[in-house]
């Protein structure tokens, strides 16, 4: 395959760096413009992973931190495909997630929320997409929790998702929300996104067909990474 550039990231669809209603961004946002680069070898390459890097159970958050039982909470499946903007599957790429437990508490030494730690829930998982870009996690639905921003802010239930893609230019971390959650509309972090359609893209949809009767409710969450031109650019990418 000849090297080709990734489509320019559509910054209008992402949040701006400075979003004052999400207060922490005020001192953590660059003031100067980003320097836009055309892709070089440094950007069209990126880390690759294999099944040797992970364990088969890593994508099952109901079992991967079991200390004699299952975690409390609604049993759910989160699944979908990783695609690029050309709707082509992104195979063999690492997907990692982390989340609070069903009570809204993170297993993290810096989280002091009064909801209890669940002894059987770690709250993280990882998997590789298959040849069709498909991935699958089993977990419990995370709880909403309060956070210090405005005095009465609550995060909607969410799962953090990290995706590599095939190149450093595709690297992405985002958050998955759940269809029908009334807290989405008032969340200052969700609302950093200027575009209602972009917000909807972060909402996992109830997937009745994938639900396992008498066992687990399924949510569908497809992830789209930057696409890539199919033609090589005029100027040779590599040296010589």
């Amino acid at each position: 395959m000849k090297p080709a550039e990734y489509y320019m990231r559509d910054r209008k669809r992402h949040a701006p760096a400075l979003t004052p209603t999400y207060k922490t961004s005020v001192t953590r946002s660059p003031q100067y413009a980003l320097l836009s680069l055309e892709n070089s070898l440094s950007e069209i390459t990126g880390p690759t992973f294999s099944h040797n890097d992970i364990d088969a159970l890593d994508n099952d958050l109901i079992k991967n931190y079991s200390h004699g039982g299952d975690p409390i909470g609604e049993r759910i499946i989160v699944h979908g495909r990783v695609l690029d903007e050309n709707a082509r599957p992104v195979p063999n790429t690492l997907v990692e997630i982390w989340q609070a437990n069903a009570g809204g508490r993170y297993r993290h030494k810096k989280d002091t929320y009064l909801a209890p730690i669940d002894p059987n829930f770690g709250g993280c998982g990882r998997t590789m997409t298959d040849a069709d870009g498909y991935y699958y996690f089993r977990t419990v639905k995370p709880g909403a929790y309060p956070w210090r921003n405005w005095v009465n802010d609550w995060r909607p239930a969410h799962i953090h998702v990290s995706i590599f893609g095939a190149a450093f230019a595709q690297r992405l971390i985002t958050q998955l929300y759940f269809e029908g959650d009334p807290l989405i509309a008032g969340c200052p972090i969700v609302q950093t996104l200027p575009d209602a359609d972009a917000i909807d893209q972060l909402v996992a949809k109830l997937d009745r067909n994938a639900t396992i009767p008498l066992d687990s409710i399924a949510y569908r969450f497809d992830i789209v990474l930057r696409g890539r031109r199919s033609t090589m650019f005029e100027n040779r990418l590599e040296g010589n």
Partner: protein, 200 residues
């Protein structure tokens, strides 16, 4: 013409360690955590350490930041099919780096990368690509670490920076002592001395 749109980014939040570095969050869950061994045991070239701190707009260290590194080996080859040139067995070139929760200091051990091909027949001076996420950062920030003991004068990316004094924000400073070679690379997210961030 109909294309899909890239999934929008959201902040990694304060608890990024749970998913990506759970031992730092305070628990042990995976057989192996990823990204702690950048170069592997067989990498040729100079072994170096890179250390620094990420500062916010008030000048305070950011203590919940996570950085990912991506670099070529000492010959300037990336461990990736689109480079295609050989790297040492076990060389991945990718690292995941978190800060000390008390001080905000971070550091990683690797080998110094070689020069890599740029566009249009140019050569990029040795550099490590960086991606920075944290609470309060809505879209991960990209930048590069260059080295003050290399000839950076013809680097095509540094030379794109119009305000020439800002090029210094991408250059790490070398020191040597009995423990080895360390480069210092501080990152200023905002304000005086703001690091040049890249839209790649």
């Amino acid at each position: 013409m109909q294309y899909l749109k890239e999934t929008p980014s959201q902040t990694a939040g304060p608890y990024v360690h749970i998913g990506l570095a759970p031992k730092a969050a305070g628990f042990d869950i995976f057989k192996q955590e990823l990204g702690w061994d950048i170069a592997g045991p067989n990498a040729k070239g100079e072994r170096i350490r890179v250390e620094g701190c990420v500062y916010d707009g008030t000048g305070a260290p950011i203590k919940d930041v996570m950085l990912e590194t991506w670099q070529a080996n000492t010959d300037g080859h990336y461990a990736h099919s689109e480079d295609g040139r050989a790297v040492e067995d076990g060389f991945r070139g990718w690292g995941r780096v978190i800060t000390d929760f008390e001080t905000g200091l971070w550091g990683f051990d690797t080998v110094k990368p070689g020069a890599t091909p740029g566009r249009n027949g140019t050569t990029q001076a040795p550099h490590i690509n960086l991606w920075i996420v944290a609470r309060g950062i809505n879209v991960g920030l990209n930048t590069r670490i260059y080295f003050d003991d290399c000839d950076n004068s013809n680097d095509p990316v540094l030379n794109l920076i119009e305000q020439t004094h800002r090029r210094q924000t991408l250059i790490a400073n070398r020191t040597e002592d009995s423990k080895g070679v360390t480069y210092r690379f501080d990152i200023h997210i905002q304000g005086t001395g703001e690091t040049v961030f890249l839209d790649i």
